[in-house]
């Protein structure tokens, strides 16, 4: 049962018997403090990290026995990862600052494809969502899809082709060269 318990001045998120406002109030300062003091992360970044960990905790709260240890373990790991990635960052030379990111040079061309792909997933049937997801997002081969769905490779190939066609028909996605 989840409720937003309305008080006089505020409402509280209580889900699966856990008062998340209370857990947040009890631990968030400590989490941010650990990231700032022990890992020397700026407070704004530390808060963002702490919130990511808290959201991950919310998603599986019923599995976690020692909340404090879990949240502290989470913020320490996230902080280490944050620092590791930051160390890999190299400052740009002044003359580079006004140049665009080379990864984004084709953004105008690829963005419509990415949006179209997402739209394609949204407008097909569940069977096709699964088939297209396995094939194009998770990298399964046709043979692997066949094994996963306990069918023949021929059926799997037909399914993927049919689903691509459905995506084209329903979402107006064009074939290459159309």
């Amino acid at each position: 049962m989840s409720v937003l318990e309305a008080g006089n001045t505020t409402s509280r998120l209580v889900d699966r018997g856990i008062d998340f406002d209370a857990v947040y109030d009890e631990h968030i300062s400590l989490m941010i403090g650990v990231a700032v003091d022990r890992f020397h992360i700026a407070e704004a970044d530390a808060q963002a990290l702490a919130h990511e960990i808290f959201l991950a905790y919310f998603l599986k709260a019923e599995e976690i026995r020692d909340v404090r240890a879990w949240l502290l373990g989470g913020i320490c790991n996230a902080s280490r990862d944050f620092i590791k990635k930051r160390k890999r960052d190299v400052s740009l030379a002044p003359e580079m600052l006004n140049r665009s990111d080379p990864r984004q040079t084709r953004a105008a061309e690829t963005l419509p494809d990415q949006i179209a792909a997402r739209e394609a997933f949204a407008c097909v049937t569940p069977r096709c969502q699964l088939a297209l997801r396995l094939r194009y997002l998770e990298g399964y081969s046709i043979a692997e899809i066949a094994t996963e769905l306990k069918t023949t490779p021929k059926y799997a190939q037909n399914l993927v082709s049919r689903c691509l066609q459905m995506a084209r028909d329903r979402c107006g996605i064009k074939r290459e060269g159309d």
């Binding site: 049962m1 989840s2 937003l4 998120l13 889900d15 998340f20 406002d21 947040y24 704004a44 808060q47 963002a48 990290l49 919130h51 990511e52 960990i53 808290f54 959201l55 991950a56 919310f58 998603l59 599986k60 976690i64 026995r65 020692d66 404090r68 240890a69 879990w70 502290l72 373990g73 989470g74 320490c76 790991n77 996230a78 990862d81 944050f82 997402r118 997933f121 949204a122 049937t125 569940p126 069977r127 096709c128 969502q129 699964l130 297209l132 997801r133 997002l137 998770e138 990298g139 399964y140 043979a143 692997e144 066949a146 094994t147 996963e148 769905l149």
Partner: protein, 387 residues
Amino acid sequence: MSTDISTREGLFKVMAQIAAEREAAKPIVAELLQRDEPPWDDDIPQEWKTAGFVDELTKAAAGILEKDPAKTLSLLHFAFGLCSNLHDRNSSIVAMHLNAVCLKHTAYTHQFQGSLNEAARAIKVAIRNVDDVRALDHEQTNANFVLAGVLMRQRRFDEAVAVLRRCEERYTEFGDRSRLVRCQILWGAIANTSGDYQSAIERLSAVVTEASQIEDVHTRMTAHENLAIALHHTGRQADAIAELDRARGLAASMPSELDRVDWVRAGFMIDTGDREQFVDALDELRRIRAAFLERQMIDDAGLVGLDMVDLLVALERREEARDLTEDVIAELAHPGLETFASRALAYLRELIPASPKARAAIRHVKSYVLRARSTLSVEAFSPLDDN
């Protein structure tokens, strides 16, 4: 667009939305569980395209694994497809978490059904998908723990140990005692499966008391079952039976696990070499095989069948043994094992009617099946050297 969770307001907005979606999903998911098949070819209602819905459906599917693994897999596939609708909602952490959890249960279901290659593939995708998401470190460790179990069943012990060691480090950082107990039990199971029974006894004896304090009955059952196997192989029969009884008591609410424990017990009976016990074991194995077949646990049903063939030969009921062999080989002839099926069938068909070495040959074939189902590249089947 994703909601910004860097503020308290944004974070709680996302959490409250998911909580509400979960509540809204409950009656729909309950109705889906009653159907023979999810509506694969219908258009998806908007209220199903939510994180809360995918979460509820995944949990509900995982909850019926023991009762109906085929339906579990079907519903997990359905939920996995629905993950495709979550890109722009909530936060990317939510979508990636749900994707990983869904794949983790999919892998576990494959493992439950004996499909180890499919299990390995699914869990590796789960691990890869959350590899760069720092907030999902714990979930990635859970996925790695499942991978360690799959690797153990594939008899890839060095890899299983390496993955398990990393899991222990991570769980220690999270202060997750119950997961650390599970790691100890898996260490014991790896020792058992690799034949290091003394080490298994040491690890598992140390952990069963601690395991009794955790809520997960399956984990506790696994600890006692593995300890029983290790004790049996070191000749401590009475202790082994006592541990198996404890495992059986804990498995009472899990029919498939109860059958697996009874399969272990039948194995103990076969090892006595006592013909009277063979007859009892055969009856027990027949019941277990039928139950596995009904739950579509085909590989395990096939392996139980080979144990039955072994007993039928020992009881000189060779015609029944030959007929059953043909059934078993046909069942095990899934993709990747076809070559095995035809060659091993011919091999056993020749030997069973009269050869004094038929029992050794059956065990040789069983060990081949165990190896073959753990790798995609099946080595050619070769008969026993001294045949």
